[in-house]
């Protein structure tokens, strides 16, 4: 039988004024959230964001760094975030594995179609980790900008997508509206 080892994942999701993060630790099916939050940089600045990410990495010393796959279909972020993710992914040392998570994999963290929307995924993550419940933003209306706290939930869903036991539907065919 293969021995299970504890894995610590640091998931990062940049937003307009900083980065959202979630540190998840787990062994097989026992997954727990160690820390979560936002690191604000004041403005959209990749250098400051990179510094904030570096601090997070030195604090949590993760096995895996989970980032959104900027090359996969469904990635709809600005060029700055594209550059930031590319920079982070290519500057890691050999001991730190970088796992790029596509939107399709993120949608498969929970039962579809509940996790096909961003809010649905955030709700799923809040149910999975009740400590995140107070941070869950209200449902976004068309005229509202995205709440920065959503970055925490996006980061947590990237982290969850890296655990195979937590991601039973990873091989499911695309069923998200974006996949069409």
């Amino acid at each position: 039988m293969k021995k299970k080892t504890m894995v610590r994942i640091l998931a990062i999701d940049p937003y307009s004024r900083g980065v959202g993060f979630a540190a998840i630790e787990g062994e097989g099916r026992a997954v727990s959230l160690i820390d979560w939050g936002l690191r604000t940089t004041g403005k959209a600045d990749n250098r400051r964001s990179a510094r904030a990410i570096e601090t997070l990495i030195s604090r949590f010393r993760p096995d895996i760094l989970a980032l959104e796959n900027w090359g996969a279909p469904g990635f709809r972020r600005c060029h700055r975030v594209d550059l930031l993710l590319n920079g982070i992914a290519s500057s890691h040392d050999r001991r730190l594995r970088v796992r790029l998570v596509s939107q399709r994999q993120v949608c498969a963290i929970g039962p579809l179609p509940h996790t096909s929307t961003k809010y649905g995924r955030a709700r799923f993550v809040a149910d999975r980790f009740p400590e995140l419940e107070p941070f869950l933003p209200p449902v976004r209306k068309l005229w509202m900008p995205e709440d920065s706290r959503m970055s925490i939930f996006d980061a947590a869903s990237f982290g969850l997508a890296c655990f195979p036991a937590e991601n039973p539907g990873a091989d499911r065919p695309k069923q998200t509206p974006n996949s069409a």
């Binding site: 894995v7 610590r8 820390d35 570096e54 990495i57 993760p62 040392d93 001991r95």
Partner: protein
């Protein structure tokens, strides 16, 4: 591409993986919803600075504070201070192996019941596993 290269230069990412964090005080505090000042008040400290230092691994809590954390978060100390516990466990394990070796060298022939018992205990310490 030049901007990416510049970013690479700014990032000196390093990681030492698969070892528990020194402590999980921040995790448990945030789960309970307490602020640092509130935990500090429970510890008997004047401000949240002490709690912050403990959470950021800048200072190791004294034994009294460790017991207080155990009571506040209702978790055993080996779970709250998992990294520290693991370090101590590994150090004691290697010392136990050394002591057992010395004992065996001292008594190469037939061993008394006392020495045999000690060697059994040391063997158990050497084979100890981390808490799940």
């Amino acid at each position: 591409m030049r901007r990416v290269d510049r970013m690479r230069a700014n990032l000196h990412l390093s990681s030492v993986a698969n070892h528990p964090l020194q402590n999980y005080l921040r995790t448990h505090r945030r789960r309970t919803g307490f602020f640092q000042e509130e935990v500090a008040a429970l510890l008997g400290a004047a401000s949240g600075t002490k709690v912050s230092l403990h959470e950021n691994f800048a200072r190791r809590p004294a034994l009294n504070a460790a017991f207080a954390y155990e009571i506040i978060f209702n978790r055993p100390a080996h779970e709250l201070f998992a990294g520290d516990y693991e370090d101590v466990r590994l150090a004691v394990r290697s010392r136990a192996a050394l002591l057992a070796k010395r004992l065996r060298e001292k008594t190469p022939g037939s061993r008394s019941l006392r020495v045999t018992r000690k060697l059994e205990l040391l063997q158990a310490i050497t084979e100890s596993k981390p808490f799940a």
